[in-house]
Symmetry: C2
Subunit: 449 residues, 2 copies
């Protein structure tokens, strides 16, 4: 990091000396993330003058490291003419998702300036749904024909190498452009020049339809070792390729989404999100949970008499509710994580539920005994100990099962299991636990007073 601070100072210096070429020169030697980081660490006024003097290549290389809002902002600042130059240097995957935010006029102007095939490809990508394979692919891949010889393939590779993002995998197409197999450049290198591609190619290909959602792709990525995924249309024709860096992004984004959902942060909130926006994204859940919370309130109200007679019962309310929520959250995490990795069948599900049940028994008995003892010692009332302990035992079992079954049910109905956020499970379990606790308490009431 120190290094980057120095770079930032260097840039400021050069800006003051108006030695802009020095900056562009330095930028060619840096990685996109560092460029973006340096740029962001500059004071506002320097950023403006820097954008003015950076060449398009430098801007294009750092642009993908900003979030989309920022990207659009930057492009806006440098004006349409230069913006188009920058855009022309971006990969189709980043470009197409960026263009979705363009006003029709600007979009058309840009598309009219680039070559037709590229423009066509971008239009096609934009016609696909966001976060589907079709919207994430690139056309910078290398393909050869079934009947090509290894020598011919190598030559094609040589010629197209500079455009290809995926030289190490070459896609083999039949005469209808259907994907027939793949050869790695490695295979070509160790093959004989006059071998036919179709004889050395790998026929087992895992591909995705252009309609595949990010979550589905994520699942594949967790199972198979890809270096790139081919994207096919309805006729099995090769549309494009999802490259390694995009695959990495898919895994990262899916993980972030899960963490977000598990914590009831529906939409992405990062350090740069504006307060109002962040609040808007968090409030819906909180308000929903507030009303669910009222339910637990009315339950307690229902047991007002019991509570009035034995106020000490209130002492253990948060503990019992809390513990139940916690064990539920734990099970939830285990299930959500598991579902993201493997397919399930009735056998797996029953085994899992039964497993969690046994876990809850162990946890319940341990914590139950512990709290009975504590309650007894603290309040000197054995029956209170029994009430609290047996309640905790019961609620821990219920809570664990809720945390296990709720996400499984959501999954069963093709809903994302992670929307059963920790807070939701916690709040549901509050209700469970209070009902159990006060029912048991009321039952033993005579003993408690």
């Amino acid at each position: 990091m120190k290094k980057i601070q120095e770079d930032a100072l260097f840039v400021i210096e050069k800006l003051k000396e108006e030695k802009y070429d020095k900056i562009n020169e330095m930028f060619t030697t840096k990685k996109p993330y560092d460029l973006a980081f340096i740029f962001q660490n500059l004071p506002e006024k320097h950023r403006a003058s820097m954008l003015e003097h950076l060449n398009e290549a430098s801007i294009a290389s750092m642009l993908p490291k900003f979030n989309q809002l920022k990207q659009l902002e930057l492009l806006g600042k440098i004006g349409p003419a230069r913006a188009n130059k920058v855009l022309a240097l971006l990969d189709t995957d980043i470009l197409s998702s960026l263009l979705r935010h363009f006003p029709k006029a600007d979009l058309d102007r840009f598309l009219s300036e680039i070559n037709d095939t590229e423009a066509q490809y971008l239009k096609q990508m934009m016609s696909y749904e966001r976060d589907t394979a079709g919207s994430m692919m690139t056309n910078r891949y290398l393909s050869v024909q079934l009947e090509d010889t290894v020598a011919a393939a190598v030559e094609k590779a040589r010629v197209h190498a500079m455009y290809s993002e995926t030289l190490f995998i070459i896609y083999v197409l039949d005469k209808n452009n259907r994907l027939a197999g793949t050869v790695s450049y490695r295979d070509l290198v160790i093959a004989q020049p006059d071998d036919l591609v179709k004889d050395i190619m790998l026929k087992q290909i895992i591909s995705v339809p252009y309609t595949a959602k990010r979550a589905e792709i994520n699942k594949l990525l967790k199972r198979y070792d890809f270096s790139a995924i081919p994207v096919l249309d309805d006729q099995e024709r090769l549309l494009g390729v999802i490259t390694f860096d995009d695959m990495m992004q898919i895994v990262i984004q899916e993980a972030n989404e899960d963490i977000g959902k598990l914590s009831a942060v529906n939409k992405e909130i990062d350090f740069d999100t504006k307060p109002v926006t962040a609040a808007k994204r968090r409030l819906p859940w909180l308000i929903a949970l507030l009303f669910i919370g009222l339910v637990s309130g009315s339950i307690i109200a229902g047991f007002e008499d019991t509570l009035e007679k034995v106020v000490a019962l209130a002492f253990f309310m948060p503990l019992i509710a809390g513990m139940t929520g916690n064990t539920g959250t734990q099970s939830l995490a285990v299930v959500v994580r598991g579902l993201a990795e493997q397919d399930i069948n009735p056998k797996v599900v029953t085994r899992l539920i039964f497993r969690e049940f046994r876990v809850s028994l162990i946890i319940g008995v341990t914590c139950g005994l512990l709290i009975s003892l504590i309650a007894f010692i603290w309040q000197g009332n054995m029956h209170l100990g029994i009430v609290v302990g047996s309640s905790l035992l019961l609620t821990l079992i219920l809570g664990t099962l809720a945390g296990t079954i709720v996400p499984l049910v959501l999954y069963k109905f093709n809903l994302d299991p992670a929307v059963a956020s920790g807070p939701l499970i916690t709040t549901i379990n509050d209700i469970f636990s209070l009902v159990v606790y006060f029912s048991i308490a009321s039952f033993f009431l005579s003993k408690l007073v």
Copy 2:
């Protein structure tokens, strides 16, 4: 999936017909994950006889897809002789971490059977700490010398291609084997045969020391687009390479760990973990949280008089405590996620805390007003409404800040921010909220009764 069920049936059939070659044949056409999945879906007895007749190549290809416990179990079942054959087919990264679990005798026997360079390399890897770069690397990379010509490099590539996992990146070493740069195979292909490697190589390399922890590598992966990361020793010499399938694993495991920690599941628990093990891994947290929960209990006990006079106060306890926990969890997720992606400096931190503060204001005022109104209508007591509302406003602010600051502090002290699990934050916030709530209530007591 249906496909895989069919495959499983096919295997069973062939097993019955004792046509084992057919199974091995079919296995060569399948991806490792599918092999493992088919195998796991077989009834126990078939699994045994299958292991008996699968050739080592087939076993080796599916082995990495099982968790380590299962891997060791499988190897145990096929006996030392065949096990060694299988092991010899694995990549060093999987192999070395597997060998860590071997009894000394078995380990030595295996190492004595493979060639010395490989054995040395494995010993070296095992000498490195688990989950560090040195323990995840592979020696299957391609390197050339600074002074080599492109032609010579291409030839080396041709010869070593079949052993290299990373043909598409070639590492350029100086005469002391220090990493001087990289050339992609693409670069070689488009260069002139008599160019010198050192003139076309890329000099900006991002590498990691062999001591780098998984979390650090994960951070790099989220910033830069690698296809492989070189691992260096203290003298900057190239020790090995982390390949992209391992990089993908790193990102996945780190994400899982975060989700796990956020839900207070310290160690990895998957669908196959035994109940007792799972319980053991979950209990420490729960017991800790139980004792923290007792604190909130004693707080309520401290306000017993207040509570006795106005039992209605108890109705809103779970709601206030719950909401505070929820907003805390939300902030926690935002911070943990953010910290995993970017570096922070005092400026970023203050901006973030201030942002969260403003968020909490918006959330607090909204929910506060809402609940006051509800409390007033429900209990027909305006002062109760004020007490509940103002408490919620205050606790939501406190809870949000706790969820923001706690992980930041942990991070500051080089602790993993994600250990501030949702449950922990929730329980801490329980305490906050109860103190605030009952203090305010006691203050307004005269008005409430």
